[in-house]
């Protein structure tokens, strides 16, 4: 069976954000052409094994590429006609989405945009080192809609130093007012090797877990009331707007990943590419054979991040045993602690598990219960 999901990494950004831990490099016109031909070359190597239902161009900022290259990229990787994927997402920065690029993306088969808006509070945007303003976000939204994108995601960030509950509430109100159908709300994390991490280490930035918790809950409440489903820990969507591509990860489906720093998981092997080298090339640097135990543990940990949860019928079909056989004690403990609920699967074939509201706040803690012991 061919693989249905493809992730493509475009590592360029106009400016590197001080909290960024992705595989990114500042834009330089020079080298983009070579990067693109390398990417197309890598794609050709897997094309035969691919029948994409979803393609996701992430980064970095794919729209940092010039229009001509965006054209070439999409034409090269997104099938059209009856083979056209059901979802093709492109990540962009508000400031990099010009009308020409938006149209080029549509032309190339993209039907979903993910925009790194982060906040509607200028103070928060400044802390994050973002150059765009609310006006620029609105322009980008207008451009996207004009080009025909109705599936739009905004990335929003909370738990930013200095951000108040009122500021976060105002940002949520702003996105509701603009009727954005999909929202990813992330707590700012201080990843190693980032500017923010260093600033935190020397005490110039601090985290407030209690505030983060309040903001997380506020998002769930406000968006929930407006009809959004919190279908994954950090993701909220109006019905029908869920990201099919991202759901594939959480459901443990196979996907290819190409481009520098990209990760793919195909038939029990997880491979990872290295960063972009000076000559604009990259290569695979890691290959991990996933044992059935590891895959089963990941399935639980990731599946429980979603609102649909994990059902035992599908699980057994895939792994040959029932979750309750291996993790009976753990499941009981999580239920006793009020993190997990058990119910019947749709159709009543078996049991299924979901995290409770409290469980979502402790999703990582719950994940630990399913990890293997060595």
């Amino acid at each position: 069976m061919p693989i249905h999901h493809l992730y493509v990494h475009v590592p360029f950004c106009p400016r590197i954000c001080p909290y960024c831990c992705f595989c990114v490099t500042p834009v330089t016109r020079r080298g983009m052409g070579r990067f693109l031909s390398n990417l197309l070359f890598e794609y050709r190597g897997i094309a035969n094994d691919l029948q994409p239902r979803t393609v996701y161009f992430g980064g970095g900022t794919p729209t940092a590429l010039p229009t001509r290259m965006l054209d070439e990229l999409l034409r090269g990787m997104v099938p059209s006609g009856e083979n056209a994927p059901e979802e093709v997402t492109v990540e962009c920065n508000p400031a990099t989405l010009s009308p020409t690029k938006a149209l080029a993306l549509r032309r190339g088969g993209a039907n979903r945009l993910s925009i790194g808006a982060q906040s509607f509070d200028p103070a928060v945007l400044a802390t994050l080192g973002r150059t765009h303003s609310v006006r620029v976000i609105d322009q980008a939204l207008g451009t996207a809609r004009m080009a025909g994108f109705d599936r739009i995601n905004l990335d929003l960030m909370f738990g930013v130093p200095g951000q108040t509950l009122a500021s976060w509430e105002a940002t949520l109100a702003a996105v509701l007012e603009r009727k954005i159908p999909h929202l990813s709300c992330y707590a700012l994390t201080f990843e190693e090797d980032t500017e923010f991490f260093r600033r935190k280490a020397c005490g110039r930035l601090s985290q407030d877990p209690a505030m983060e918790k309040k903001m997380f809950e506020m998002a769930g409440m406000m968006l929930g009331r407006a009809g959004y489903r919190n279908y994954e820990t950090s993701n909220h969507a109006l019905p029908g707007h869920e990201s099919v591509h991202n759901l594939a990860y959480w459901r443990g489906e196979d996907y290819y990943g190409i481009g520098p720093g990209a990760v793919g998981t195909v038939r029990g092997v997880r491979h990872r590419n290295g960063p972009l080298c000076d000559d604009d090339s990259w290569s695979e640097i890691e290959r991990e054979e996933l044992t059935p135990q590891v895959m089963a543990a990941e399935r639980m940990a990731l599946g429980l991040r979603t609102a649909e949860g994990v059902g035992e019928t599908g699980f057994r079909r895939r792994f040959g045993f029932l979750p309750a056989e291996r993790w009976q004690k753990e499941i009981q403990q999580l239920r006793d602690a009020g993190l997990l609920t058990e119910s019947a699967e749709a159709g009543g074939a078996g049991r299924m598990w979901r995290l409770t509201d409290r469980g979502r706040l402790l999703a990582d803690e719950a994940a630990v219960f399913f990890m293997n012991e060595y």
């Binding site: 877990p209 998981t265 602690a337 630990v368």
Partner: protein, 598 residues
């Protein structure tokens, strides 16, 4: 060899005063070991001994020495542990001797263990040869040492030998003094055999090797010996002495020290201190032997991972083979599962055993709060000994409790006398005398409840005196005392491993501190965790560990999964190393934290 030419002696000293170095020098000077075989600290075999600079196990070594009188002598040097924790081993070694060298470091002067060890030697009526050692040191203060030896130890100054184990100066004088001043073993005309067993070791290939001092008669391979206490008979396979490696001999005669290998299967078949005689012609009376000491300090030792119980058990057995003073028996704790109640001679012994288990045997263990043996009189007249707080009867049936008391010798710099005095008071002790050692130091003699010095007294002493203080102690008996049991409850469940018996006046503050400490070391859990301290069912302190609020990483897409999983797995490992008490995971630090009192 005829007994006139045999000398049996030990070296006693405060730790680091140079006993091992001097022993090495004696071996070298007598040609017992050749120059090129010489390595420093030859007698300290175990790594831990080398590292801590203490000798745990006593090894007897035979040296041949031609004295200035032109005659050949057989000198048996019986090494002793320095610390009185091992007074058991010290006194059994001393029981095999006729005299002892008492070392005093010329730069340090008389120390706590010097005094305590001298007490032990005096009890055995040994002839003492005082030696001021390390006179080569630039900061040696021989005059003041002489004064201290005279004043504190009541030894005349003209007996003192000045030497250096390092440079070799005076070492010849020491050997001459051993020959001239120490008595030869008493010659007897008995037909039978009486030999004192003062140690035993287990050798994987040869079985039990016992160390003996022959007081009467002789012992040869082929004869059947009888252990007088047990009445069991064994055939002797081999006898010999250590030079320092074992060397076979035809026989061990009267006055000689050496080893005997008979087909004894286990060290537990032989009681140290018992008399070996001949089965065919048994002696009428055993030798006086020496006082059998009992463990004074007890603590539970548990595997962190309960599945390692059997492995730990095997290690305990191996440890005991060479350390019969260490005792253990199976015990079960509600909190910690299967483990062992272990008895130790004292604090250092306990530390050393725990450290050996961790280091040499690579066991992940939790040791519980140490306890002394309390004597409990119940209202119904029954009396019992309690070495584990869990077994303390309900207060309503207790008539009274007695606790063990020790006499401690504490040497400290003059300036800190006030601070040490208040430490002693704080530990419910009192000072019986204060003696000035020289113009810098004083020696305090005080009585202290043993349980008050179990955990961190020595550390406190060291820190108050900036490392210059030293202490040793000897048991002096039991006194009545108002003791109560302090329990710690975690989410309403008493955690037996946290219980302790404490003096009533200290119970409340200790309970409060403990609860506070535990709150700091018990990580947030899925539930709120209540920590309570209770005395006799009455809650005296309460602390709460808040439930975990949020632990969710924001992004988790295809590229993040492996990294996330590694993180989760690491957390899982961390959890596994904790002890689950009910639903609460308690980290190891918590069990260590309760060992600290202030």
């Amino acid at each position: 060899m005829d007994t006139q030419h045999i000398r049996n002696f030990s070296i006693i000293a405060h730790i680091d005063h140079g006993k091992t170095t001097l022993s090495d020098r004696l071996l070298q000077l007598t040609g017992t070991i050749e120059q090129r075989q010489m390595r420093d600290q030859l007698l300290d075999g175990m790594d831990l001994e080398r590292e801590r600079g203490i000798t745990i196990k006593a090894h007897p070594v035979r040296m041949n020495y031609r004295s200035e009188d032109g005659k050949d002598y057989q000198l048996n040097l019986i090494d002793t542990p320095g610390h009185v924790d091992f007074s058991y081993e010290v006194s059994r070694s001393l029981a095999a001797c006729d005299g002892a060298l008492l070392l005093v470091d010329a730069s340090q002067g008389v120390e706590a263990q010097t005094v305590a060890n001298l007490h032990l030697a005096a009890k055995q009526n040994l002839v003492i040869i005082p030696v001021i050692n390390k006179i080569d040191l630039p900061n040696a203060d021989v005059a003041s040492c002489v004064q201290q030896i005279e004043d504190i130890l009541a030894i005349p100054r003209d007996e003192i030998i000045k030497a250096s184990g390092k440079s070799g100066e005076g070492v010849k004088d020491i050997l001459e003094a051993v020959v001239r001043r120490l008595p030869a073993p008493r010659q007897t005309s008995s037909e039978s055999l009486r030999a004192l067993t003062f140690d035993s070791m287990f050798d994987t290939f040869r079985g039990v090797v016992i160390h003996v001092r022959v007081f009467e008669g002789e012992i040869r391979p082929g004869v059947i010996i009888r252990l007088m206490a047990s009445g069991n008979d064994y055939e002797v396979k081999e006898v010999g002495c250590f030079k320092p490696e074992p060397v076979k001999q035809e026989y061990l005669g009267t006055g000689e020290v050496g080893y005997v290998i008979a087909n004894i299967k286990s060290t537990s078949d032989i009681k140290i201190g018992e008399t070996v005689t001949l089965a065919r012609r048994p002696a009428a009376e055993p030798l006086p032997g020496f006082q059998q000491v009992r463990p004074m300090v007890f603590s539970g030792i548990y595997p962190i991972d309960t599945s390692n119980y059997e492995q730990l058990k095997a290690c305990m057995a191996r440890l005991q083979l060479n350390d019969s003073a260490f005792v253990y028996q199976h015990e079960t704790s509600v909190a910690l599962g299967f483990g062992f109640r272990c008895g130790f001679l004292g604090l250092l012994h306990m530390e050393i055993i725990q450290e050996r288990l961790r280091r040499e045997y690579q066991q992940d263990i939790i040791a519980t709060y140490p306890s002394v043996i309390y004597r409990v009189k119940k209202t119904n007249g029954e009396e019992l000994e309690v070495d584990n707080p869990v077994h303390l009867p309900d207060p309503s049936v207790i008539e009274c409790i007695e606790e063990p008391v020790v006499r401690a010798f504490i040497m400290i710099p003059n300036q800190q006398i006030g601070d040490i005095m208040s430490l002693i008071m704080d530990r419910r002790g009192n000072c019986s005398h204060t003696e000035t050692l020289d113009n810098r130091r004083v020696m305090l003699t005080c009585e202290l409840p043993l349980n008050e010095i179990l955990v961190d007294f020595n550390d406190k002493l060291k820190s108050i005196s900036r490392g210059y203080g030293s202490m040793d102690y000897e048991p002096v008996g039991y006194v009545q005392s108002d003791q109560v049991k302090l329990d710690i409850l975690v989410n309403g469940e008493p955690v037996d491993a946290f219980s302790c018996i404490v003096h009533r006046t200290k119970a409340e503050s200790r309970g409060r501190t403990l609860a506070l400490r535990l709150r700091e070391v018990i990580p947030m859990q899925l539930f709120r965790v209540a920590i309570q301290a209770a005395i006799g069912g009455k809650i005296i302190a309460r602390e709460t560990v808040k439930a975990m609020g949020k632990n969710v990483t924001a992004k988790c897409y295809g590229g993040d999964i492996t990294r996330k999983r590694k993180l989760w797995e690491k957390q899982k490992e961390g959890k596994k190393r904790m002890k689950a008490v009910g639903t609460v995971n308690i980290p190891q630090e918590a069990f260590i934290e309760v060992l600290k009192t202030n």
